[in-house]
Symmetry: D3
């Protein structure tokens, strides 16, 4: 009997409870899970404050209690949609099924002959990277929406300070 | 007597009757024609649904009845305007004159010492890539605006289905 | 009935009679043929004297008498074997079968699920790019090994002069 | 006693009197000054009309009367904020302190352990690249806002003509 | 008390018992370990047969029994030594000390102010990627030199077959 | 009367007295001189120990006593010979004549329509980057072959220590 491996991709700026809900659901369907960290080369901006390595930490530590083997793999943007699936496949352990609701991702995997399954739903009104980053900038309570392990990582890297600094306007 | 070779560039998303009109006109002035397929690395997006190879097919098959030798050459974006002409010249058969109305293209070829000629006019109200792609998305009649060979290519690659899928909104 | 399209790749530095023999053989088995021009970004060196565009001309003109539709497509090196097949597929019209005897190319297409067929044999003692380039450098008779159309292209671009110049040693 | 070297970066499209004021001020605080020319690969657009080399000329000639040694170094965009400081450091002579008011630049240098000092203020209502470029396009008096040496460079390269051409709309 | 995190890099073509010995030793000195997988973009060659993702699997599964948290992070070559440390730091969780005996790696980390410690020694006569790959090609017993988990991965991906194929000579 | 500007390129690993002799000779023939620093992205290797920025310092300081305006411009390798001249031209102030004895450089500039002049001769038995680097590694007297300003730069950056370290063999 072979191992069934699933693939799930996100930008994880930062990892939040919505990601965790989806991943836990997927973890119930597969034997192993590869988590792709998209736009891996981006960091230090309002939309993408955290480096790939920082997001590898967030993902790894948030998923440590899962019973299945997980892999956290940075995926740099290539800006070549037509080779994106191959790029992902070369950076990730071989996988059998991709989980996504993103129309482009669905199309690319489908054209490449990879099975795609929809992910579940979660509370997108609060659990959204852009909203959580805004809470960080405004000094509001972002901690309620992320796993405890993510709080620790953001503290260790002084992530809120970085985000606030790069969100400032050029003031001279 | 030497061969005069012309150059014409477009994104060809997709090839339409307006392109064909211009190219037929140019074909009357030169001995051979190089057709550059711009933004060759882009595909699978609303603005650029078709791959370079699919557009090579569209161009080649649409021009098969022309009496002059034509070349269809993909040109990847370099994002370096200052080296763009050299990049084009290295990917294309040597040419004597570039046909373009695009102000940037005119400037770049002129600075490089390449003769530039204006292209003719055509009905831009209907013959425009963005309008034809919208017809595809909306399920309206796009076929009347493209050569029959282009219809066949888009059918073969299931191009309308791809375009509609990537035009969908992320719905979860 | 669908069109069967074949794919054949080479560096074509320059196109010679051996290439022509293989391509004519392949042309008897498929409906259309895509010719990939490898290492498209290389030129002006002893091993790769001719630009992609110059090789597009050589291929196109050498194959003009073939009865099937052919496409000549430059393929730039990516230095990422794992995404090479996707890169080729995005630059080339869709193809059903790849013709190659190169072990790496065979492996890459096979892993990607593309059918691979061996090409035939030809006289590799004389019909080899490196030997023909040496004849050019030495001022010996290279013309007997290439199609007439290739002679014309090399003349037009002053290719032998270029090759001899870049083959010179730094003499100060 | 070691040399203290400062670093100042801008896009310099074109160099104007505001740049000169800041640089003269910095020149009073350090022994040598490295001027980074950002987005070095961009040119021939409305926002970035001049090449890196043209901007090297503007900077070098504008600063010729300064009593300290200055270096003008093109810095190409990497689109990887996390490695940007190393990229700058590898292209520039070693420097001790970076002068910037840009929040992202401040953050990146600070995380890398490089001392950052704020630059002074100047009349941003008139001395701003975008405003000066608009004056050029409109045929108004841009010369009053740039050093005389910059006027000469722009004349030599026919810079205003270029900017006006690339600012035109596609009119067919 | 803060976590001390170590960094160790290799090409892991494939992971073998020598790697494992070093890593177990390092694991005794730090709280967490980041394993960098070098030349991540290389694969399908005699020197680098396995993809980054396949090597992520080998590393992750070989280290599953370690008591400390480990991260397996692909590091693509940049061919820019001067920015290599920043590149590594952006792809990896923040680390305090790098383990390496490689003179270049030692120099680069030292210049960047990162503490470097030597790794231990092991039996390099047998435990060497190039030797193990040769055993695979020759059909000899390579399994004795790699962890059991690595055997499983290589089986799953049909790695020996791939290596033998790309090691063949072009025979036509 | 227009300014005549010359261009001279080298890798300058490091700048030595032979470079200086050639440049002084060229300086007698032109009004301004652009010095291109080739392979700008390479550093920290036995063949290319110094960064672009360090070589900018060497060139600038060695030429400070010249009476003409000089520019030191890093030129990164593109590995695309066919666009190399445009790349150089975009990074350098506009120049009228290129000085080179390198056959490839001569060919590329000639094809691009740039006037090329031969450089003079100098004592290549001693004044050669590879020999001077070997003296550094061996602890012999390299200082006699380089300008005093270059000695200072290499001291400041601890260049000999770096070169010796990267020249070491992996010894475990």
């Amino acid at each position: 009997m072979t191992t069934e491996r699933g693939f799930f991709i996100g930008r994880f700026q930062p990892v939040h409870d919505g990601h965790l809900q989806l991943i836990e659901q997927i973890a119930g369907e597969v034997d192993e899970l590869v988590v792709g960290i998209g736009s891996a080369g981006d960091s230090h901006s309002v939309g993408d404050p955290f480096t790939a390595g920082e997001r590898v930490m967030m993902v790894t530590k948030s998923l440590e209690s899962l019973s299945i083997t997980t892999y956290a793999v940075p995926i740099e943007d290539l800006n070549r949609n037509a080779v994106w699936v191959s790029h992902v496949q070369s950076m990730a352990p071989r996988f059998d099924v991709a989980y996504s609701n993103n129309p482009l991702v669905v199309q690319l995997f489908t054209e490449a002959g990879v099975e795609v399954r929809s992910t579940g739903l979660y509370d997108r009104d609060h659990l959204k990277g852009s909203k959580i980053r805004q809470l960080m900038i405004d000094g509001d309570d972002w901690r309620q929406y992320v796993p405890a392990a993510v709080e620790d990582v953001i503290e260790e890297i002084r992530g809120v300070e970085r985000l606030r600094q790069v969100a400032e306007h050029d003031d001279f």
